[in-house]
């Protein structure tokens, strides 16, 4: 075939490209349609408020209160953020502003390795190492604290890499100007670099929150999985995601449908966070450096 046979081949190519992209773009709609379709049964039978007002989670007796588990999801996410945000932002600042180049490169590589560790491996480490440590021998350490720590480890790379990427985008002249004015690294970071990179840092935090809300395996393995309101750092609880993973295997009919309602809630929450992050200009993606891509 001659390379100059332009119109026909190019038109075919256009069709292939367009339909591939359309397929890729429509996946999210397909997912939404199917999750909603399965959730509809329970929504119709129970109404929208039953999931908020039902006293407990007794799926076999038709009681589908999701609120304690939603609270557990929020509590573990908040706990993870409280720990991971200062550490992640600190690590990002370190890499972008004060670390010597080889150290920064090495440190970034390690953070990327951390990002690449599968969640089930974090869960295993949490279960075998962290939980006994928190329990202190006399009781199980499964619960809010263990789940938050493991989650914090998992979202830390996202925060660190996006902070670093946002700081890298701050114009060099700005930092050099600050240094020329005699500002030390603290003042430089606090007054110049961080404010200039604020939007990227916030976008990273928002995306990390989304990851923490959606994380399943690691939390499932260390949270204890008793349906309960968050009551203390060492009290067991069950998150929305964990509940789906635990019960999907045997749930039927309305019970199954309620699990899809929980999935729908998770999806909407995460979608909201993505929109929020994009309002901040989107996180400067650090995944393109390689390695920084994992979630499960």
């Amino acid at each position: 075939m001659s390379p100059y046979a332009r119109p026909k081949r190019d038109r075919a190519l256009s069709v292939v490209l367009l339909s591939s992209a359309a397929l890729a773009a429509s996946l999210i709609v397909l997912i939404l349609v199917f999750v909603f379709g399965e959730a509809r049964g329970a929504l119709r039978a129970e109404g929208f408020t039953a999931f908020l007002t039902d006293a407990g989670w007794h799926p076999t007796d038709g009681e589908f209160g999701l609120l304690p588990m939603a609270a557990a999801t929020l509590a573990t996410t908040l706990g993870a953020l409280v720990m991971a945000a200062p550490l992640g932002i600190g690590a990002g600042l370190f890499n972008a502003l004060i670390a010597p180049r080889p150290v920064a490169r090495f440190h970034r590589a390690l953070v990327e390795v951390l990002a690449g560790i599968p969640s089930v491996v974090f869960g295993l480490w949490g279960l075998v190492v962290l939980v006994p440590l928190i329990g202190g021998g006399e009781r199980s350490g499964q619960g809010l604290l263990a789940a938050s720590v493991v989650l914090a480890l998992m979202i830390l790379p996202t925060i660190a890499l996006s902070t670093e990427a946002a700081l890298e985008r701050v114009p060099r002249e700005l930092l050099q100007g600050a240094a020329a004015l005699g500002l030390g690294p603290v003042a430089c970071a606090r007054r110049v670099a961080l404010p200039a990179a604020r939007r990227g840092v916030i976008a990273g935090l928002v995306l990390a929150t989304g990851r923490a809300i959606g994380e399943t395996m690691a939390v499932l393995m260390v949270a204890g999985n008793v349906v309960a309101w968050p009551a203390g750092l060492r009290e067991p609880l069950r998150t929305l995601t964990g509940n789906i993973a635990l019960e999907m295997g045997y749930a039927t009919q309305e019970h199954r449908s309620v699990l899809f309602v929980a999935g729908l809630v998770l999806m909407l929450a995460v979608a909201l966070l993505v929109v929020l992050a994009s309002l901040f200009g989107g996180a400067p993606t650090a995944t393109s450096h390689g390695g920084g891509a994992s979630s499960a």
Partner: protein
């Protein structure tokens, strides 16, 4: 300048602390996993619910699931990336829509992918709990990262090369196959390897799509347990399964490290080629 030094010290401490945590996790993994690791562990099937025997059937299932995901996602991802990188000028609005929906897709929690895969592939399409269902679910999941990486690779092909191709009167298709793709190949490889890594790590999306049967799958419609699902099951449901869980986790992480090394190699070649 006491506060300055304090601040720098704090940042060093935080960063070294993060490194120490990672080292802790990896060393712990190696320490507890290496005892059960042997050639026999890799080549024999699990016995006694995984407490004894090895992981050969799970490795095979994992390979099949990941290969299915890659084979399905790669062409779609490649073509979409070409459209986003090349055709964006003609279809700016469409490109923005595609990007927006891919951003959403990449944020969907993996357990929701599991729900979707179960409802769509297993039940609606009638594929049941199978390698194919799991692989297709993962294909949806790795598509965003695949597209984003390949698009970036295509974009970084120097403009002169594209202009030269147009000046020679080459068609778009020929330009793509003879100029753009060869130039962007290492970048495409990076995207591919990242996608494979993501698929290997995945657990939650697979439990209810590819299932948890431990025997060796015979075809794509057989159910098969992925290595990550095996780790979860051993740790949570099998008393006395921790040793094997650690050994399996060590195998998984080693595979990911090798992939990570490949990414770095490809990325290095990629930047080198751009520099020359």
């Amino acid at each position: 300048m006491k506060s300055e030094r304090l601040f720098a010290g704090l940042l060093w401490t935080v960063s070294m602390g993060v490194c120490a945590l990672l080292v802790w996790i990896v060393v712990d993994l190696a320490w507890r996993g290496i005892g059960s690791l042997s050639i026999e562990f890799l080549t024999s099937v699990p016995r006694d619910a995984g407490r004894a025997g090895g992981i050969s059937s799970l490795l095979i299932s994992t390979m099949w699931i990941v290969s299915t995901a890659t084979v399905v996602a790669l062409p779609i991802g490649l073509f979409s990336a070409v459209l986003l990188a090349e055709g964006a000028q003609q279809n700016a609005r469409f490109a923005r829509l595609v990007r927006g929906s891919l951003d959403m897709l990449s944020a969907v929690p993996s357990i929701v992918f599991g729900l979707f895969g179960n409802a769509f592939f297993c039940i609606t399409l009638g594929l049941g709990y199978s390698i194919l269902s799991g692989g297709l679910t993962l294909a949806c999941m790795i598509l965003p990262i695949l597209i984003r990486t390949i698009e970036e690779a295509l974009r970084s092909v120097p403009a002169e090369q594209k202009l030269a191709a147009s000046a020679l009167g080459l068609s778009r298709a020929t330009t793509l196959t003879h100029v753009l793709l060869p130039a962007a190949a290492p970048g495409v490889a990076v995207g591919l390897v990242l996608g494979i890594g993501r698929a290997l790590s995945e657990t939650a999306a697979l439990i209810f799509t590819s299932g948890y049967v431990t025997r060796t799958p015979h075809d794509l419609l057989d159910s098969g347990r992925a290595l990550s699902v095996h780790i979860y099951d051993l740790a949570m449901n099998i008393p006395g399964g921790n040793g094997r869980a650690y050994a399996s986790a060590l195998v998984l992480v080693l595979m990911l490290f090798v992939l990570n090394g490949l990414v770095r190699l490809a990325a290095k070649r990629f930047t080198k080629r751009l520099a020359t």
